[in-house]
Amino acid sequence: MVAYFQNPLNIYITAMAAAFLLGLVHKLGKMASLTLFYGALTMMAAVTLGSALSLSQPLIIQTAGFIAPLSINLQFGYYEAFFTICVNIAALLGGLYLYDYLKDSVLARALFLMLVVGINGMIMTRDLFNLFIFIEITSIATYGLIGLDRNIKALSAGFKYILAGGMISAFFLLGTALTYYKTGTLNIDQIIAMKDVLQDPIGLTAITLLLTALLIELKPFPANGWGLDVYQGSNAGIAAMISVGVSTGALFALYKLLPLFPAQHMGIISGIGLATFFFSNLMGLKQTDAKRMLGYSSIGQMGLVLLALSFFHTAPLTMFLGIVGGLFLNHFLAKAALFWIAGIVKKDHIKEWGILSQSKMLTVVFIIAVFALIGLPPFPGFWAKWQFIMVLGSGNHTFIIAAILIGSLFEAVYLLRWFNYVLAGSEEKLACEKSKRVPVLIFGLITAFISALLIKSSLGPQSSIYFFPIAFAVILMFVGNFIPTKLRALFAISGISYLSYYVQMNVSGLNLIFAQMFLWGGMILSIATFYKTKAKPATYGLLFLMLASLGGLVLSRTTLEFFFCWEIMTLASYLLVISGKNAKKAALTYITFSLGSAAFLMAGFALSNSLTLMGLAALPSSQATIVFTLLALGFLIKMGAFGVHIWVPGAYAEAEDDISAFIAAILSKAGVFGLFVIAIYMQSTISNSTLAYSLGWLGILTATFGALMAAFQEDIKKLLAYSSMGQMGYVIAAVALMSHLGWVTALYLSINHILYKSLLFLSVAGVIYRVNTREMYKMGGLIKKMPISFISAMMAIIAMSGVPPLTGFGGKWLMYTALIEKGWHLQAALAFFASGIAFLYMYRLVHSIFLGQAKPEHKDVKEAPLWLIIPQVIFMGLMMVGSTLPRLWVEKLSVAVGEFMPSTLTWSGQTATTSLGYWNGFMVMNIVGVIFVIVLIFLLLTFQKVQKVKQFNIVFAGERPFTPETTHVAYNMYAPVQKALGGWVKPRATAFWDGVTEWSHTLSHMFAGIYTGNGQTYLFFILLFFLMLNFLIGAN
């Protein structure tokens, strides 16, 4: 009995016997034949697993009592085992999924079994003609199953498929005939051994015919119109089997025959794969039909696998499975799940997909699948793509890398846009049978399980550092539904505290400073989240995940670890942003730019050829320039630098109010950290280069425009967002100085930014919580209602503007000193100008919200909730200490930077001295304190003379405005200034990126135009594809 499960031949025997018997058994009753059907599928999966597990060396199965080439043989090695396991598990679950579809038709069940047999055969057989037969079995079974739906869509799609299939089989058979003529054998191994014989016109024609047939099965661009129609027109369960099953067979068949292909022409296959990946995803952009979109994605992913195959078909097993297998597995898991979900939702247009959100479980699997396809960690595609891109990088295939990354970005955009529609929700009820839900759930679980395994195996001995936080976060997200909010928050905070303890034990110097910024800052901010009575179930898990990934960023030593944490951070922050009420559009922009940033990082790391971050230091200068540019671009996008900042206002404003604080105060420092990492390692190349100089200018520009844009915002959170952008600009410039003082400044400004931006966002969160609006002109006079919030905002503004005595003063002093020390006088002037502009919005902030007269509707407003006040008090306390005793922390920064370049900052007491002057925070604080007390006493003495005026005691010149609010001074406060600066603040960057979007959509539409829907046109494309291949191969 055990032997049964160890012989792969039993897959065929079981399936065929069952399929043939089905007709007879059906006479005994439906139950009997259903039992037989599912029993057979189960046994097939079991046999595959059993055979794979007992595999000690590749198994050759002879038939008919003769040894190949006399008879046909099958092979079941490690490669075959991997792919057949996938296929048979998909078949079992796919069969279950199709229960409704198959239960009424015994013929359909027989077809399904034979479909699986065909795919297995395509994978295992080592005989060329036998391969033809299995291809035919697979195709014919598919045609039949598509025909089960007899509507016009399914019929016309199926018919186009048959036409294409007819052409393919004619090509393949002709190829087989010519191959037999040249080699005198049909055994694939023998043919490969004799491949030199095939190097004449007949042999090459034969090879071209065979490969055309198999490539067309993989639906290459542009000869794939019929494939798209099939994905769109057929039942979702069948489409899933085609996407993950039939394609698998075709892929493996191609893999078997690839050695026949002249090695010097392998680039043709790569080109076909790349073009398919790129164009499918480009065309996917315009798609609104869910299944057709999945079709584009499917075809694209198979193109990517094909590209990988052309590079690694001769690679050793682990590498092959790591890259080709990984990419395939990713497509396999995600696409099956998505097609199945499409069948449950039963909506063609993606706009109607809101209905899916009624099932939490399905939505979770959906987003897992989408993330997997995009290539986010920890899903299989991430690891495979990373390895692949790294290999491409070491071979200097810059063009391929660019095309892959851009193609992936397209795919991400259309998939996530789809996710937005899902989140939109719907009134309609989602009907979902258990038989359909279970397979989806199982695939979700398998994906999660494999991802967990991959973290463990890919990150090496360090993996548990990354694994456990993720596991903790995932658990926290899932128990979210069952335990109260406060308890979850408590778990998250204790998790973060443990993490911050762990990380601090393991890092030092600059990394320690960043670890403290990320984790301590995060911890204090976490207190604020208590103010919400009911948080979304996943919030705390995600929050923890985001902070943990930042901790991991600091810990990482290899480029992979760094990139892994970076992507996890992207993922977590995206989900946090999108859980805001109206954040869907903003979140899409955010993730698109974040993924763009990740793409630059990936390209940079790939071209660096370095496995460790340390290795970046060893790059020759020409290479270092390119690598630095790419990596810096990645980090700058994340910091919202000028030009790529358009995601900033949306993401900051639309995220939930406490989350915005995390993003602005903590997350934006990830980019700073990244910038520091590369600046440190590539210091020698970058110092005094044009690159650093341009970076400096970019920083100053960012600061200026951030401030300008902030001044004209009506939305309080957008104002803060642009302000953050501006402040990051100073940091960028400071890093770009590449001097000791510059870097200390950068760190100083970053820490200061955490302090005051936390204060501002929390204070504003309290205000919004109480007055329920983000429009500033609707507020006013809240100083008496919310005094602590006012003080907090006031202190923040003082700290931000650089007015003594708070921390900002030191920051500004350091910055101007550093800029002038470096000789960047013009930049210093512009920075000064930007600070002036910044005063505009800061004044507006305080004035519009807290000063003036209170609106009548706000007469019952109370102070912000205690949970928001506590962290503000802590931050205010920190700020006071930091302002009074700057040496306490600035010296640490100076020492940390001193590891990399000689210090130019000296200390005596609380006095810091540079070449240009000195600063004593303690003294400044005392002087200002004295002045403050004097003014206060004066004010208190003169207070009685103030005359009170009733709020609406205003006389209009005979006219009554329809919307009185707009006449408020706070409304469009800086309109005159805006007029003056008009041309400066036109949304040029937004217009540019809108243009990019529009152009890619136009292109998308243009290319999709080749899919006319006419089956004959598709046949013609297949013929042209053959001729092209023939021309390319025959050219030499």
Binding site: F129, L155, S156, L163, A177, G233, A1008, Y1011, L1023
Partner: protein, 127 residues
């Protein structure tokens, strides 16, 4: 005339016929708008491929690979044609029948839905 023709091996003549059938069939597949005509064209292509396969197995002047008890095995080596292409073509013909039947069933059902046999009427899915 007869002598001249005899210089051309049978196999080559049949091979050319096969290729020409493929070309004729492809022309039909790509230009005819009636779907039944397209299917007829496909069968022509299939027959063409089969003809080519048989011509590849043929060896001038030899007989079918059926060995009577009288024929010596050694002798047979120089007297019969290759049995393998025959076996392949046999299979291919049967498969051809299967696909043709399936295609025609599609045609019948498509006709039921659209009352048309013109392939241009079945482009509901595109782009």
């Amino acid at each position: 005339m007869g002598l001249y023709l005899n210089q051309y091996p049978l196999a080559s003549i049949v091979l050319i016929t096969g290729f020409m059938m493929i070309l004729i069939g492809l022309w039909g597949m790509l230009t005819k708008t009636n779907i039944i005509k397209i299917i007829i064209s496909i069968t022509v292509v299939e027959t063409g491929v089969n003809v080519i396969l048989v011509s590849i197995g043929y060896i001038q002047g030899r007989t079918a690979p059926i060995l009577d008890t009288a024929v010596l095995q050694i002798d047979a080596l120089s007297r019969v044609v290759d049995p393998i292409p025959s076996a392949l073509v046999l299979t291919s013909i049967v498969i051809g029948l299967g696909t043709t039947a399936l295609m025609l069933s599609y045609v019948i059902k498509m006709y039921r839905v659209r009352q048309s046999l013109n392939i241009e009427d079945f482009g509901v899915l595109k782009w």
